[in-house]
């Protein structure tokens, strides 16, 4: 009898894998469908029109069009009821594509998001920090043009540098590259610091509370916690992303960051704008 169940389980999972591949191949926007797995499966099977989606070629737009797009992106940002102050881009895929990530960062900047964090759970971006930064600057020129790049300046924060509280230029964005070390390891380091202070009689155990720990873990007094994390990839987990900071973060999943479009990003932002946070009340 056990073998029968095992066989049926295998059949079930093969069907699910086929279903998943089907979705990935035809890029059906299922993230809005929160219904039962079977209703999703049925719906997917009933949409043969998906077959007619051709692969779209990326054209380099004329400079005039660039300006138009830049203003549209800015207007889009202003049209939303709420925009995240700090967005996290969690890449849960094995092969990161730097150009696509750079595009996402530039679009976030253009839409008006002030703080952008990029994360992967292998620490690949952290190790290739400079390559990512170069790619972002390149895409900034490409997508926003020279004028736009001047207007939307970007500040890169690497580990250890404090964001200076100088006068903020209009549309300045801060980009930070994160790795798992910024999560639990950072909390442990803060704990060690506090315990050392106790060892040296500078503090007592009773002095330690949420506020004290939070101030140690905060990037700077002005950096907000991530309001929204966009997760790219099939894995349903935070994969160690900043455990302390994500207590009220909204998580929106997107199938992949490869060939991601502005529309994908914008619809995620629209979804975020409609979320209601009651904060315990």
């Amino acid at each position: 009898m056990v073998h029968v169940y095992e066989f049926m389980w295998r059949v079930l999972h093969v069907l699910l894998h086929i279903h998943r591949t089907f979705i990935t191949l035809f890029r059906i926007r299922l993230r809005n469908w929160n219904g039962q797995l079977w209703s999703r499966a049925l719906a997917a099977l009933l949409v043969p029109i998906a077959l007619s989606f051709p692969k779209q070629k990326k054209l380099v737009p004329a400079p005039g069009k660039r300006v138009g797009r830049r203003y549209r992106w800015g207007a889009d940002g202003k049209s939303l009821e709420k925009l995240p102050d700090h967005i996290g881009l969690l890449i849960a895929e094995e092969e990161p594509r730097y150009t696509d990530i750079a595009n996402l960062v530039v679009w976030c900047m253009a839409v008006g998001i002030s703080y952008i964090s990029v994360y992967d759970n292998h620490g690949v971006f952290r190790r290739n920090n400079s390559r990512l930064m170069e790619e972002i600057l390149k895409q900034q020129q490409e997508l926003l043009g020279l004028e736009g790049s001047k207007q939307h300046s970007v500040e890169f924060l690497s580990n250890g540098t404090d964001k200076q509280d100088h006068q903020v230029l209009s549309c300045q964005s801060v980009v930070k590259v994160l790795s798992p070390d910024d999560g639990k390891l950072r909390i442990v380091q803060a704990a060690q610091e506090l315990c050392r202070a106790v060892e040296q009689m500078e503090k007592t155990a009773k002095d330690i509370n949420v506020t004290v720990l939070d101030s140690l873990l905060r990037e700077s007094k002005t950096t907000p916690d991530p309001d929204l994390v966009l997760k790219f990839g099939p894995v349903e987990s935070t994969l160690g992303f900043l455990p302390w900071h994500i207590r009220l973060t909204e998580f929106i999943s997107l199938p992949s960051h490869v060939d991601v479009s502005y529309e994908d990003l914008f619809s995620a932002l629209q979804h975020y704008a409609s979320c209601e946070q009651r904060l315990g009340k």
Partner: protein, 370 residues
Amino acid sequence: MAEWSKIPPNVFSEKGSVPLSLQVEVLKGVSEFFNMSWIREGELNLIEKLSANILKAGPMPKHVAFIMDGNRRYARKRHVERQEGHTQGFDKLAETLRWCLNLSIHEVTVYAFSIENFKRSKDEVDGLMELAKQKFIRLLQEQENLEKHGVCIRVLGDLTLLPLDLQQHIARAVVATRTHNKCFLNVCFAYTSRHEIANAVREMAWGVEQGLIKSSDVSEALLGHCLYSSNSPNPDLLIRTSGEVRLSDFLLWQTSHSCLVFQSVLWPEYSFWNLCDAILQYQLNHRPLQKARDQHREEQALQQHEADRACVADLLQHHGNGKPLDAQRRQEALLNYTASREERVQDFLGALQHKRDSFLTDLTSQAALA
């Protein structure tokens, strides 16, 4: 309790005897209240059993965490009192625990009351505290049932924030079921993850103050052992109902590599099929998450090794006679240091467990005297 809200307010103001139909309603309500237990009795029907057996052919989560969201929205939808929504939510919890046992899931953690929820209206908070008190009292009356199922109840959170009588009831329930080990129910009450992590750091600092550990002994593993959930493995699967897609300060440390499933169904409407859907998601994510967890564990072990090595190098520098030791001596010193660190840590954790146990037994003896 369910029937009270249906009684029209002017009934009791009339002189004379209470009508028979009303008496029946009252008795029904009272008996319903007393029949509500923490784990619903019952078995799965045929189709459910079949599906459960198919699922169990694959990897199953051993520990599932629930954020039981949607009670108030359910109450609005059904046009009943908020309190009724919470009561139905509790019923659904009892049913879900039954399903988990049927699916051989032996550990469940639920988010019952957040420290943030104290911000709600006094009426609602008092209502929730009263509901909790009734449930814990009921629990204590069901000792045999709990022993039969081997249920161990743990309450995670800052109990000192709760009214004293509730603290005492909780302490009695936890102490009474402490030795049971067939299945575990962890109820997060007066809990937020940040408070839990800050408390863990405070406990480690206490350890340093008491001279039980050194600040260099602080590690990810040690912090994990100082959390309220230290006696449980990390949840394999976290389910949140009602369509919200955030963690709301729940088990942030413990769920960093767990499978997260967000479902739009409201908690009081949760079904066996919703649970199966979540488990299916867990099975699809099982391998990549296992890989990520293993990788993280390896990195952790490496970091600990490096930290130990640095400490040994430091010690040798300070206590040595200036001559560099050969590789074998250094290796020996490293092994000795690691062993002594582990012993220190074990003693500290023992002292911490004793402190926590004493807090609970003190509460129970207070309750006994009262």
